[in-house]
Amino acid sequence: MVPKVKEGVRLRREEFGGLLFTNRTPVLALNNDALAIWDLIDGNRTVLNIVDILARTGREPRALSALVQQFIEAGYQLDLLEIESSDPAAAGKQMNSR
């Protein structure tokens, strides 16, 4: 499952993390944890890749995986992210329909 930032979504970095601007939602604030996940979403990395990279910081992988999954689901629900998968049905199952 490969998350990708949708067209028209713009990030502005701030001291506290970042702000996301789109025409589809109010301005959304990201803390530094959320920003670390956001920065790894490049349309190529899978969710597992993202968890692996973040796990190198020493965080517990299972908790981290849940956090990343939750963040990406929220981004999908808010129409900030699209999900690419070799198995679209699987992607659809994992991301509850909006």
Partner: protein, 341 residues
């Protein structure tokens, strides 16, 4: 920068959340309450102004005036703004938004358009001093609603003359299908500076809040929001949740036709810099006005000691500036010295 920035110190380095860009001071209406000059001044460097704002990571701009569609390059400006910013909004009187103009606006990905409606046909046209302006504004709203892709809102400037029409206007806009309505309070500045008869008393303001509260309790559309900052102490406790907080001069600003950075269009309090010449961060860092705001030094002692100051922020600083004194419950005291920063 002298002194120590406290509660809002982070705002010095943070790019503004929103900038209102004034395309012209001119208008084809003559609203009695207008905060602008209605002079035929047009922004000659607006493309450069927009680029300068984008370079500094401003993400939200509102194209305003005067009537922004009167700018001879309006559609080119709109196109450029949409290329530069993720969020572009338009504030207009709607009278120039005919079918062709609305179609051209729909060529772009715009966050929202607001078309002002200030009462029923009679009270609206009496305030704008142009017969037929209500019909044109409503027509513009209908054209946007028909297409249904760009959110359309309306703004109602509350004055002593249209206050009694507020409930009916909300009802009329509901029947048109409008989803969002903002209410702003008349502040006697600009053209409206001499219109003492339009001033809303504290009792009238409370009446208007009661009307809005009743409407919101009904759950009906349009959703109504009081956009103007109102001192909490001017309102009964049960209505304070409707009051808004003004963040102009903190993380939202106004840029006039020449590129001068100001607190807001109503107050036109200069920050002492021009975005064509100076970075916004440096303008803020060198502005005693900005410093006064972020340190809350513009507030009277009664406000500073109040437990609700973080939500209320003392009300409208433009209104306070006009009044020139604190009267114990109706907009904070604004030192006159700030006006000439």
């Amino acid at each position: 920068m002298t002194g120590q920035i406290s509660k809002y110190g982070h705002l010095v380095n943070m790019a503004p959340l929103l900038v209102q860009v004034e395309l012209t001071e001119a208008c084809n209406l003559s609203c009695r309450f207008c905060y602008n000059s209605q002079q035929p001044r047009y922004s000659e460097h607006v493309f450069r102004i927009l680029e300068r704002l984008a370079e500094q990571e401003v993400m939200q701009v509102t194209l305003t005036g005067g009537e922004p569609l009167l700018h001879p390059d309006f559609f080119a400006i709109l196109k450029r703004a949409c290329e530069l910013f993720p969020n572009v909004m338009i504030l207009s009187n709607g009278t120039l938004m005919d079918e062709e103009a609305v179609a051209r606006i729909h060529e772009h990905d715009i966050l929202s358009v607001s078309v002002s409606v200030h009462g029923d046909p009679r009270s609206h046209d009496a305030l704008t001093c142009v017969s037929g302006s209500y019909a044109k504004a409503i027509n513009a709203i209908r054209l946007f609603l028909k297409r249904g892709t760009i959110p359309i809102a309306s703004n109602f400037v509350l004055t002593a003359s249209n206050l009694s029409r507020l409930a009916n206007t909300i009802w009329d806009l509901r029947s048109v299908g409008l989803q969002f309505l903002t209410i702003t309070r008349f502040v006697p500045v600009g053209i409206g500076g001499g219109a003492e008869d339009l001033l809303v008393s504290r009792r009238q303001l409370v009446d208007a809040f009661r009307t809005i509260n009743s409407h919101l309790a009904s759950g009906n559309r349009p959703h109504v929001e009081v956009a103007e900052a109102t001192p909490f102490c001017a309102l009964p406790a049960g209505l304070r949740s409707l009051a808004n907080t003004c963040s102009y001069g903190y993380d939202r600003f106004y840029v006039d036709v020449d590129g001068n950075m100001m607190v807001c269009g109503l107050s036109r309090i200069p920050l002492g810099g021009n975005v064509l010449e100076t970075n916004i961060r440096n303008i803020k860092a060198g502005s005693s006005t900005f410093q006064t705001f972020v340190e809350d030094r513009h507030l009277p002692e009664a406000c500073v000691a109040c437990g609700e100051i973080d939500q209320c922020h003392g009300g409208c600083r433009a209104a306070a500036m006009v009044r020139g004194e604190w009267d114990g419950g109706y907009d904070c005291h604004m030192p006159r010295a700030l006006v000439s920063d």
